[in-house]
């Protein structure tokens, strides 16, 4: 038994060593020693004292609290009269400070079934939320076409600017390189048949029908969808959305509608631009590396695609734009009210936006072949 814990008669004397900033003691050893002595059964009271010249701090308090809670269970009283007055005051405070809220501190336990159940309910709720949001968007669009929607025209212009022209550089880079990649991949195979000229068909068809709409939409999901989610989420945190509601503005009309319109308007235009850039990428490879004539390549491209192909791509682009707008705005407007919730909203917006784009691409592929477009 160490010097710090001593049994005198039926009383246990606990001496607390010096503890202050940057000096601490082995509270675990002290506690276990005291608890061992208490468990021996013939202790009737516990007297605490501070070692000579010692300072006390939270560790001292936590140690006494630990020992006396152990002793309380066995109805052994604690005597703090030899400790500084502050110690007993603060320890009394830990017991008396009232919780001024009615809620309990009990949390649901974590178990496999509980977690699974929560996840299932969350998935169900999300589907419901999405339905609800789409319904709200539709009625907002209806008000827009009837000219009753309240929103700021300048907002719409700003969103059009940030969604379209501001994204031109990244759209150019990605589509140009994809045109180049497509041409290279095609050339490697078509060379085997001496049919290099069909690179023009491949690039023109592949790019306008599939790649330009999909890749442009994915760029915008990361660029604009995430931005919308973060903007609306932050407005939620700042209670800006509540403020709009109390002034009688519909948050759907005021915040979501202009964002959706901006994406729905700009996406087809960006896809059209992406088509041109992608075909130009293929043209560069065809003329510079495959020794095809410029006029020959252009004529081949003209023969390969018709208006239907271009319009299909542009139509897909508008649909993807709306999907990106829906996921971005929905996550934003339904975001929680903390910094991490806004981050979650942005992440969810991008992930579900990209998944929605890929799913829609697959559906379009099936429909196009069934309808023979």
């Amino acid at each position: 038994m160490s010097d710090n814990v001593e049994i005198i008669g039926d009383s246990l004397h606990v001496v607390l060593p010096n503890s202050q900033h940057s000096v601490s003691f082995d509270s675990y050893a002290l506690k276990s020693e005291a608890e061992l002595a208490i468990s021996s059964g013939h202790i009737r009271s516990i007297k605490y004292a501070l070692a000579e010249g010692a300072q006390w701090n939270s560790l001292t308090l936590a140690t006494i609290k630990g020992i006396s809670e152990f002793a309380d269970d066995k109805n052994i009283p604690s005597d703090l009269s030899s400790m500084p007055l502050g110690v007993s005051k603060i320890l009394a405070l830990t017991k008396t400070t009232v919780i001024d809220e009615s809620r309990t501190s009990e949390k649901e336990p974590y178990s496999l079934f509980y977690t699974l159940g929560v996840m299932a309910l969350a998935a169900f709720d999300q589907a419901k939320e999405l339905n609800h949001f789409i319904g709200l968007s539709l009625s907002s669009f209806k008000r827009f076409f009837l000219g009753k929607a309240q929103y700021q025209r300048s907002d719409l212009m700003t969103f059009i600017q940030t969604t379209g022209p501001a994204a031109l550089v990244i759209v150019t880079v990605v589509n140009l390189l994809l045109g180049v990649i497509l041409a290279f991949m095609g050339a490697a195979q078509l060379k085997l048949f001496g049919a290099e000229i069909f690179v023009a068909d491949l690039v023109a068809l592949g790019h306008t029908r599939e790649i330009a709409p999909m890749m442009t939409a994915i760029i915008l999901a990361g660029r604009t969808g995430a931005a919308y989610a973060a903007q609306l989420g932050t407005m939620q945190v700042n209670e800006e959305i509540d403020a709009l509601k109390t002034f009688g503005f519909s948050s759907m009309d005021f915040l979501v509608l202009p964002r959706m319109l901006a994406l729905a308007i700009m996406m087809p235009l960006l896809v059209l631009y992406g088509d041109a850039v992608g075909i130009f990428g293929g043209f560069l490879i065809g003329t510079l590396m495959l020794d095809l004539g410029a006029v020959e390549y252009i004529t081949q491209t003209q023969n390969a695609i018709g208006l239907t192909d271009i319009m299909l791509g542009v139509f897909k682009g508008s649909v993807f734009g709306i999907l990106v707008a829906i996921t971005g705005c929905k996550e934003g407007i339904m975001s929680g009210r903390s910094a991490s919730a806004v981050g979650d909203a942005a992440t969810k917006a991008v992930v579900s936006g990209i998944v929605a784009i890929i799913l829609a691409t697959a559906i379009f592929a099936v429909l196009a072949s069934a309808l023979g477009i």
Binding site: S27, S58, T63, I90, L93, T97, V98, I99, S105
Partner: protein, 251 residues
Amino acid sequence: MLDPKTAIGIRDLTMAYGDFIIQRGLEFEINKGEIFIIMGDSGSGKSTLLKHMIGLMKPKTGQILYQAGDFWASSEEERKVASQRFGVLYQSGALWSSMTLAQNIRLPLATYTDYSESDIKDIIALKLSLVGLAGFEDFYPSEISGGMKKRAGLARAMALDPEILFFDEPGAGLDPISSKRLDDLIIELRDGLGTTIVIVTHELDSIFAIGDRGVFVDADVRTQTALGRISDLRKSPPSPKVAEFLSRSSK
């Protein structure tokens, strides 16, 4: 150098945002173990003064002295060490939202002390029970009410057993009952732990209930216009504006 009984000394402090002077010529001392109130009208820079004292803003001229020395004349490393000796309760708690209450208190403890993991756990439980939040360790800030966030913020501010506790508008956003309970808690903590307490507030009920001494910073003349015991300032205010400020509640 500071008298051993003094916790903080402010010497000829001028605060400014760029060229815009907020306050000049501030000069006062805060004694160890007292509850010191920084009061003033809106825009007087009382929160800015707090930011200077806790190291978030650098004075334009003048000194802020702690027992360890001139705060802003010391190196960044020394300032970091000095900052561990005080705790700050921000206006709305400023709990880190991605962490539970226990993790919020744990971070400074695990970073700046050598306590073992089980000691840290015990200390977290102690601090939370001190503010009436025993058992709320695993709650996230978003799961508790505003008043509870403030209490949890206080538990975090006390994590490292600070010698000085700063409070920015402790009563703001609390109902009168919670606000009164927080005031009582502040007094109990001062009496029990002997902590020096600096409070920025304009709530008269709190000022009269718990303040020992205080300073009044004036937005119009941009300097301090009153300094001393709260009860003396109330009885014989040095300027009409201080009189008006301190008498509003009794009207």
